[in-house]
């Protein structure tokens, strides 16, 4: 049975191994749908960890349902946190782009108007998001013919609209 320090080390190591495997897989395969692929990746590594632990193939592994439960309760949310942060990797954040652009202007700085021009040129954030949504199967279409929601996209839009009402976020953001 692992003592709590070992359990903490195992939980962190499990997630770290999954992250390293993610780098190797993404360098080799470059999946088109990042979010779906990440969900599958971390689920596979979860099952692999459980299977290896059950088979006694790990030199250091939790024992019993409760220790595994604690390890999973670390691994699962850590993986979901990484996946939710991945949208920043997948596409530019307008705020981060703007800070980077102003920083690159150095001491002379940058006017708001210059920033607008830059964002209009390279920061076509709407198009980036439409393309990412299309890659994730949420919308269909292209620049020339316009865009429609897929069935998955409609579900996402309805869930988001419902959350907006429940949390009264209509005027936030």
């Amino acid at each position: 049975v692992l003592d709590p320090v070992e359990l903490l080390a195992f939980s962190v190591l499990w997630f770290a191994v999954a992250l390293v495997a993610h780098v190797i897989v993404w360098r080799a395969l470059r999946p088109a749908r990042h979010i779906g692929a990440l969900l599958k990746h971390f689920a596979v590594l979860l099952v692999a960890g459980l299977a290896l632990g059950a088979a006694g193939a790990l030199p250091l592994a939790p024992q019993g349902v409760w220790q595994w439960g604690q390890a999973i309760l670390f691994y699962g949310p850590a993986a979901l946190t990484y996946i939710s942060l991945f949208s920043l990797v997948e596409q530019d954040s307008p705020s981060l782009m703007m800070v980077e652009r102003v920083a690159s202007a150095g001491e002379s700085g940058c006017s708001e108007e210059e920033l607008r021009e830059v964002m209009a040129e390279e920061g076509n954030v709407v198009l980036q998001r439409l393309l990412a949504a299309r890659a994730d199967g949420l919308v269909a279409g292209d620049v020339e013919h316009g865009w429609v929601l897929t069935a998955r996209g409609a579900v996402a839009a309805r869930v988001s609209a419902a959350a907006q009402r429940v949390y009264r976020l209509e005027n936030a953001g």
Partner: protein, 183 residues
């Protein structure tokens, strides 16, 4: 398999925190004002963290100090990760441009909705105007003499550099993958 009651409580600590935070946040959202979205979440997070720590600490009284602290760290980290996931879900609903586009398409009468309609709605004027005010208020940008400047390495610049490094590790390029696939 039987479990010591303390083990069940230890496992429940992050979940107790999540439930406390969610209930409080929902209540505050329904009963409180509309404006203080972030403040509501911070308060709910603090209460949730206190609940997780309290359950973890109470359930581990029979252990040594080092074991208690290790478990407390594990439970607190699990709770923080859970609450981050929760916050992301709620916050994206408010701020995500991608979700706004999906909601716009859901409500649109004209289908397919033309690209220019969407880009005009969220053009650079809106994107820049709102964000500049926010970035100046958050001290990520400094405004002086009608120009914007960055002093040193504020948080957003560090984040941007880190994301660029991570993209290079994953894709061998600091640009986002969507830009390289654009058609």
């Amino acid at each position: 398999m039987s479990a010591h009651p303390g083990e069940v409580a230890m496992l429940a600590a992050p979940l107790a925190g999540l439930v406390s935070m969610t209930v409080l946040h929902l209540l505050a959202s329904r009963l409180g004002g509309v404006a203080a979205h972030l403040i509501r979440f911070i308060l709910a997070f603090a209460v949730g963290l206190a609940a997780a720590v309290a359950v973890s600490w109470t359930a581990t009284t029979s252990l040594t100090w080092s074991d208690r602290i290790a478990l407390l760290a594990l439970h607190a980290a699990s709770f923080v990760a859970l609450s981050y996931g929760y916050f992301t879900f709620v916050n994206l609903t408010a701020t995500s441009l991608r979700l706004r586009l999906l909601r716009d398409m859901l409500r649109a009468t004209e289908k397919p909705i033309p690209t220019h309609q969407l880009t005009a709605r969220y053009g650079s004027n809106e994107v820049v105007g709102i964000r500049v005010e926010r970035l100046v208020a958050w001290k990520q940008l400094r405004r002086s003499g009608g120009r914007l400047r960055v002093d040193g390495y504020p948080l957003f610049r560090v984040l941007s550099l880190l994301i660029g490094c991570w993209r290079r590790v994953l894709f061998g390029d600091t640009r986002p993958p969507t830009l390289r696939r654009r058609r």
